[in-house]
Symmetry: C2
């Protein structure tokens, strides 16, 4: 198995050095660098090209969340593992939205650190239950809007809406479904009434947001 290359960004000197020695002292892991801030973030990453970045959330200058964004923008393959002293859900949640792959508390044991890094490297996402829950809830809301209002759309109406959200005009839709322009318009009128909207944009917006059709 290849060596897992890790780069550390952590302002606390003691922890930074401890982690450096921990990682270098663990079989299968190498620490490609340990820095107190993110000022030369991209340059340092370009030089070392690590597999995993261990990133402190609270840092002077560029903070951890901004750093994650930058990293994922320029090196999408690098996995970022956040670490933090506090169990600050919001911050961690933002970090995850920015592209982080997991996070651990600084109170984690050395063995736990290694475990988490390994997990991230192997495609996992270590995180505590409360963060996981927040992600889950937003996720579940995005996947299935639960009992989305039933607008009682007929099959034909749904078919037309599907075409509409593709950006087609009434004329093109008529063509696509083998019908007349006027028929499509009639259906649209009925759709508008059912969705309580009064323009095609509004309809498309509603359909895409509420995952109708």
């Amino acid at each position: 198995m290849n060596q897992v290359k890790v780069t550390i960004f952590e302002d606390n000197k003691h922890l930074r050095e401890s982690l450096f020695y921990l990682i270098n002292g663990t079989e299968g892991f190498t620490c490609a660098g340990a820095y107190p801030d993110c000022n030369d973030l991209l340059f340092q990453l370009k030089k070392s090209l690590p597999n995993v970045v261990l990133m402190d959330i609270e840092m002077p200058g560029i903070n951890g969340i901004e750093a994650v964004k930058l990293i994922k923008q320029h090196f999408p393959a690098i996995q970022v593992l956040m670490q933090t002293v506090f169990h600050d859900d919001n911050n961690i949640f933002n970090a995850i939205c920015a592209g982080a792959s997991g996070y651990i508390l600084k109170t984690t044991s050395p063995a736990g650190y290694v475990e988490a890094i390994k997990d991230v490297y192997n495609g996992g996402s270590p995180m505590t239950g409360s963060i996981a829950r927040r992600v889950l809830e937003l996720f579940q809301r995005n996947i299935s809007p639960a009992a989305s209002t039933d607008y009682q759309l007929t099959p034909k109406e749904k078919e037309i809406l599907q075409q509409l959200v593709k950006g087609k005009s009434f004329k093109m839709i008529a063509d696509a479904i083998g019908s007349t322009y006027e028929t499509v318009r009639t259906h649209m009128k009925n759709i508008y009434a059912k969705l309580h909207v009064n323009s095609n944009t509004e309809a498309v917006s509603k359909v895409l947001h509420e995952k109708i059709v």
Copy 2:
């Protein structure tokens, strides 16, 4: 602190009874029932109204995923903790989409079981790193499409698009951003050129699909 009421659905008799005694034997926890299948699921839940349901994924008759759907439909407040023998990502992932709040492997220690139940009850979502990663990836894709094509939209153009996807007409947008109808139209022309579209619906569709703005 209140007693945490747990109901178990698990076809393996040995495990079911072990869990029953484990939970009843742990301070702060009560087992409100332990059943080998989900045939009378809703009736049993209605009777016991547990805080947490421990649900096996693989079961004869109604399987765990269907069961979760039913539970969340009728008792959205009940937290469902899935358990499974295999580390079957897809199944667990489906369970989570169906509304489960976490999951554990059956190889988990008794202490781990109790810990997970407590975590779920307290609003957490225990899960392994690999599941968390799958959720995260889908989640991040829904939140930020990573490096979506950059259309070089100006701030004003983005602002107008934001209004447009709300279903507003050009006139209303002009009003909202304190500008003229004609100005909005000019911006729209530029937007169309940049997005390579030629109708407002197409623009809205593209914006919502690619998470621009």
